[in-house]
Amino acid sequence: MRKLLSVISFLIASSAAFAQGAHDFKFNEVFVHAPACCGGDSTATCSKTPSYVDEYGQSASWIEIENTSYSTHEIRNCFITINPAVLDKTMSAPEREKLMSVIPAGDPRTSIGAKQRITFFADGHTNRGTLHLNFTLPVGKPFTLYLFDGNAVDLLDSVRVETLPVGSSFARINGDEWQVLEEDKVTPNAPNLVYHNDKIREFKEKDPYGIAMTLMCMGVVFSCLILLFVFFHIFGWAMNRAAKLARVRAIRAIHDQASKMVEMAKQGTTETRGIDMETYTAVIGMALHEYFGGTHDLESGILTINQTPTTWADKSHELRVTPQHHQAN
């Protein structure tokens, strides 16, 4: 039974750990490349700045995924798609896999560090490498991106992307809040916001003398230790009380028993088994005296040693003289 419980606990812990890693991957930014833009047949305004290019120098739509956790996780074997058919829950895993683009294993780039990102090109050319997907993003149409776990069944994240202005991207800015980033603010493979440690700046501006920090921190330190004090004060009191009650109960029980014995001795109803009644009464009386007067079960706990002059260690009391060491001739 114990082994079974251990195995179950281990499995639960393992599955939780696995799920935690995969669910930390979130779509972070999406960019739709409009190839017709520079071809002259589009009414849309052409992009003013060059877009992000792949290893071959080709511009393509791209999808950025972020590991939102503070530890490294593998994104290999996960699936990305824009095909809504995969939401059909009756579909088997192999059928789903055919509709999605798998992120291949065997590439160290798929190991994503804490708060780091990976960018995939949605160009339909998987032969170009790990970072290329087998589909393209539709230009001028809304679509939904889906990210599935390695089992092709568990949906990790999805985002609905409306029609984007040319050159703009759709980015997750703050938690799950998404917004369209203008052309000059698109940030492929980089954080969507430039990170500043605002906390330090804020403290520097609003608490230049450190008084607020001192008050807050000392408040927290005192709170922690006061809570511990209260808990152990009450607990200690309860423990003491319980011990005292137990002692009182024991005394009462013995007292009752002794009273009964005295009563029985007086009445002469006690079985004496050949012992004289006087002896028997004396034994009981002695026991009672010991109990009520001579016992030492309720001590003050204070040890005192009064210094008394004594000659017990006096050299003159030594019974033998110090041995003399004679040098051998």
Partner: protein, 389 residues
């Protein structure tokens, strides 16, 4: 033949002169000499004066080791060179995993019985943390950034591992100076504290005899690390690495079922980590990084922090005594033990108590605020980390 021997001699000469450029003599600077002298002084203090030899000998030798001059030729020997042995040891300091291991050992060695028996002593441990925040305010006034000020101020907790842990997160560029400063002042506790204690107490107050502590049951001792962990980390999760390991170590000890683990954590493991920690912290004080104006300021701030911490602990006992009945007064000499230099600060209380009255034994009473100080400084570090990281 002659030409050959001349060219061989040239070859040997050039190689020898090249070799000489690698020696310490060719690369030595005055700063190195000064730091080596500082290291030697630490070792002398440890051996001759018996000032915390377990800390000062590794740090002292580390300072000497870190200041042996050599040519920067990518030999992978220096502390700050990738893949060098010292650099590998240093990762425990840089990434902050030595301090929690030291806390594991402290937890496994600490008996919280004195604190549980008299829980009001916990408040002294909290009060002494004023040293941290007093130093924080002074550091801000001296022009340090809030994160640097916090890293420096934690010296006031008198807790080397916590100082290293926090400074590695908030102000890694000052960590070497902060660590050496924290450990130096911890070793100098017997020099710094008694004067302040005497200054803030009268002769009569120093003679106060405290009531003997009640007997603490094993159930209470077992419960303490669990309740302590829950309360402190629910309030300050950022202190989890230190508090978690401290209470884990203590549970190993008090559970009575894992005595072997507690012994290892408190002896062999702790000794290994303290050796590596002391050595690498000492090594990190390379003259070029260490001999700066900032270091001088840090040492000055560290002294202030210790003085404020000691004084606030003693003053807080005076305040507590105003509210306590006559037979439950606390001897203010245990106020200094609110800093978490365990058990040095408690020993100072004991020594000063014995000087005032040869029959007044304060050690066990002082251990209460002393171990509360360990918890208090770890909580303070967690709060600072939460506010500023």
């Amino acid at each position: 033949m002659l030409l050959e021997s001349v060219s061989t001699m040239d070859f040997i000469g050039s190689k020898l002169s090249d070799f000489l450029t690698y020696t310490g003599f060719a690369n030595v600077e005055w700063a190195n000499i000064i730091m080596i002298a500082v290291g030697a002084f630490f070792i002398w203090l440890a051996i001759k004066k018996d000032f915390e030899p377990l800390l000062l000998i590794p740090i002292g030798l580390g300072i000497i080791l870190g200041n042996i001059p050599f040519k920067a030729a990518g030999l992978e020997i220096g502390l700050y060179e990738d893949n060098s042995v010292l650099n590998i040891f240093y990762q425990g300091v840089r990434l902050g995993w030595y301090p929690p291991l030291v806390f594991l050992g402290i937890g496994a060695m600490t008996d919280f019985g004195a604190l549980i028996a008299n829980p009001k002593l916990m408040l002294i441990g909290a009060a002494a943390q004023f040293g941290i925040f007093g130093a924080y305010m002074i550091a801000l006034a001296m022009g340090f950034e809030p994160n640097q000020a916090a890293g420096i101020a934690i010296i006031g907790g008198a807790d080397g591992p916590t100082a290293i842990f926090l400074s590695s997160k908030l102000s890694p560029n000052l960590m070497g100076a902060i660590a050496v400063c924290a450990y130096s002042y911890m070793a100098l506790v017997p020099v710094i504290q008694p004067g302040i204690m005497k200054l803030l107490t009268t002769k009569e107050q120093r003679k106060i005899k405290m009531q003997p502590a009640r007997k603490v049951s094993q159930t209470e001792k077992m419960l303490f690390p669990i309740v302590g962990l829950l309360i402190t980390t629910f309030i300050v999760p950022s202190g989890l690495p230190l508090l978690g390991m401290l209470f884990f170590g203590n549970l190993l000890k008090e559970s009575t079922k894992t005595t072997r683990l507690a012994k290892t954590a408190g002896s062999a493991l702790n000794d290994i980590v303290v050796m590596l920690l002391g050595l690498t912290v000492g090594c990190s004080t390379q003259a070029s990084e260490f001999l700066t104006l900032a270091t001088v300021k840090i040492f000055a701030l560290g002294a202030f922090a210790f003085i404020i911490a000691t004084a606030s602990g003693v003053i807080f006992v005076h305040i507590m005594n105003l509210f306590l009945p006559k037979n439950q007064k606390i001897n203010p000499l245990i106020g200094n033990a609110g800093v978490s230099a365990v058990p040095m600060a408690a020993r100072i209380s004991q020594n000063e108590g014995l000087k005032a009255d040869p029959h007044n034994y304060l050690l066990m009473h002082a251990m209460g605020p002393n171990v509360a100080g360990v918890i208090g400084s770890a909580v303070a570090a967690g709060v600072l980390l939460g506010f500023l990281s």
